[in-house]
């Protein structure tokens, strides 16, 4: 589906949409890496993530925080996010490439995923969530 940046003076507020919850989580990852690194290609880097949380919003925060951690410590940039959700359990396969200062240093680091106003809602047939990324 899609993500779009909404007006927020201090931080980055993203509205994420997905036809399914899995797609919503995939798009959230894509939005986050778009803010931090800009363009990215799949160059054979693959990482897997498995998580469980008490509710979907916490699972979303944990999932994005885990991606931040991997990107920061392994110098990786991800562009595709295959997410499988079973209840409050997540398993994801993410693909991307090593960080390249020439192509990836024009973005803004995200410091954390905020809980403020974080609520996954279903509008007609689409899941929607607004996420504030602290930058």
């Amino acid at each position: 589906m899609s993500f779009e940046e909404l007006e927020h003076t201090a931080d980055v507020l993203m509205r994420i949409r997905g036809a399914t919850l899995s797609e919503l989580f995939s798009e959230a990852g894509r939005a986050m890496f778009h803010v931090m690194y800009g363009p990215c290609e799949d160059r054979g880097i693959v990482r897997q993530i498995a998580l469980e949380a008490e509710d979907l919003e916490s699972l979303l925060v944990d999932y994005l925080s885990e991606l931040l951690f991997i990107a920061d410590t392994e110098n990786l940039v991800f562009c595709t996010f295959d997410v499988d959700l079973q209840g409050n359990q997540l398993s994801a396969v993410v693909r991307g490439e090593p960080f390249d200062p020439e192509r990836h240093a024009g973005g803004t680091l995200i410091k954390g995923i905020s809980y403020f106003g974080l609520e996954i809602v279903k509008e007609k047939d689409v899941y929607v969530v607004d996420i504030i990324f602290d930058i």
């Binding site: 008490e54 920061d72 990836h104 024009g106 995923i113 905020s114 504030i132 930058i135």
Partner: protein
Amino acid sequence: MFEGINKVGDFEWEVPIGYVPDMRVPGRFFLSQALAETLEEGAVHQLANVATLPGIVKYSLAMPDIHWGYGFPIGGVAAFDRATGVVSPGGVGFDINCGVRLITTPLTEADLAGKKRELIEALFSVVPTGVGAKSTLRVSNSELTDVMVTGARWAVERGLGTQRDLVRCEEEGAMPGADPEAVSAKARQRGVPQLGTLGSGNHFLEIQVAREIVDPEAARVFGITEGQICFMVHCGSRGLGHQVATDHLRVLEKALRKYQIQLPDRQLACAPIDSPEGRAYYGGMACAANYAWANRQVIMHEARKAFMQVFDIDYDEMRLIYDVAHNVAKFERHDVNGVSMEVCVHRKGATRAFGPGAPGIPREYAAVGQPVLIPGSMGTSSYLLHGTEAAMQKTWGSTCHGAGRVLSRSKAKRTVHGKELREQLAKEGILVRAHHDSVLAEEAPEAYKPSHEVVRVVHEAGLSGTVARLEPLGVIKG
């Protein structure tokens, strides 16, 4: 002004109990009419939300750079009773001990003539900046423990600074209460390669000139003179601090039910100060704060060496005036209705501004109060101020921390072109160096409220006194 908010002073507004349900105390914020026009209702709601937290004392406060954040508003200040109150990462933010330090040099603008570009390039080559930046320091895991406990002192003991630097930092560069056990392996992993790096966003290292001395006596005490070249460092605790905040936010969020705390915003997750979860957060936060003081110490050291490389000056001629934190929670003693009380003061995008004679400020500054540093945006003035007795009485010894944004980053990018901005600033004599021009547009001067108006309000409201205005001459950015 929004409905339901009352004006109670020339620059002071009250948010009464009942503005949102379950407020325990009223809210108070400080604004001029001009700044009121850019106030967001969401920021006032966040201020009111903070007033619902257990153990909050007197008021939920916000400084004139109040704006919409998450959890606390940016510019938010609140004190919690040590015995009955809570501690909350929502009142500190992800970038624990983001802060500022200001250093004077023996140089004047004339000395910089023809050498500014060389200096900027020298600074840019020794201070890692931006997304993906890694430190040239090699720090072991056990050394990282020392960094988290001893802060800036760790750097000084390694030869990256002098003993005198330590005295001129808030908390002397290391706050007590650090508990390395409360810092996860993940946070450590992020912290090791990033010590001595600037980061991105609004962080910077800027060359400035003291253009105007407003309070000659305080300027003399702080050791700054008109026309003097200075430099300012603005950064925080990097990935280590972000991870500490992320980890503990989740723990505290899960503990809410255990302590039967109802919240209007999950980002305000908190726990009693004297609970296992509250103590762990405080201990981890103190580690991150100390890491940030070490980080700014290392960056200052590298910048001093770059100045020495370009100019014939000595290391000791570059004097640290002060280092202030603007995202932190600390135990302090304050007067509450005539009684001295220990409280946990949260400052999120707010600066400590202790007045004359207050404990915890350098003896050499005792007569005028602590130095307060307000960074401007790229291309606009920064300010040196001093703390006041009025701040001690009204705001737990706190003042503003910066200009505060008026444009979102996306709108700034749509209206400002990074390359053009860089060229325009160069015409004004301000050299800007970054890895990409795209990061400049987001931080364009027009994206911020005028820093002089925010500073005027804290001065007029008595929360701090203006000492000097510094103009930018060159900046390196993330």
